[in-house]
Subunit: 98 residues, 2 copies
Amino acid sequence: MVYVVAELSVRPGTEAEFEAVAAELMQEVRAREPEVQLYQFTKIRGRDGVYRVIERYASEAALEKHMAEPHLRAAMEKMGPLLAARPQLEKCDPVGVA
Amino acid sequence: MVYVVAELSVRPGTEAEFEAVAAELMQEVRAREPEVQLYQFTKIRGRDGVYRVIERYASEAALEKHMAEPHLRAAMEKMGPLLAARPQLEKCDPVGVA
């Protein structure tokens, strides 16, 4: 099992469009990728336009498969122009019993 | 539903002790707090001694109840001397369907 925690910042005024793309992506991932156990965009309180994405994969292979999915690429293309900075990604390994 | 994402940094050499306290805390939370839907300490790859804690609560009330739990306070007391910096906490609200 592996977690990915990302931070995405969007340009002011693009939040609604970004969240629509995010909602569609979450729907696609949940429908098509059973090995993605958690895939949630969230808004960080007190930090306008900054999103925390929390993801959990059953295995390293599930993460690699996700990264190659057409629906992810399509969403990244739509999100690209909305971003105010490069996404920050962390891979995290569970401590103790996951 | 509300997520909490935290960052905890520990003093070099205290990782094993910290992880033992974390493992015990996760066990207590999972056993005693049914409204805590996710409570996972993780190690961030590439950042020695830095932990990402990912938590999900069924409601704001469940989060407040958690913050007052004796087992959390006991764990924080044990962890306190091991920390290299103040913990960073974020509250995050799900975008779209959680």
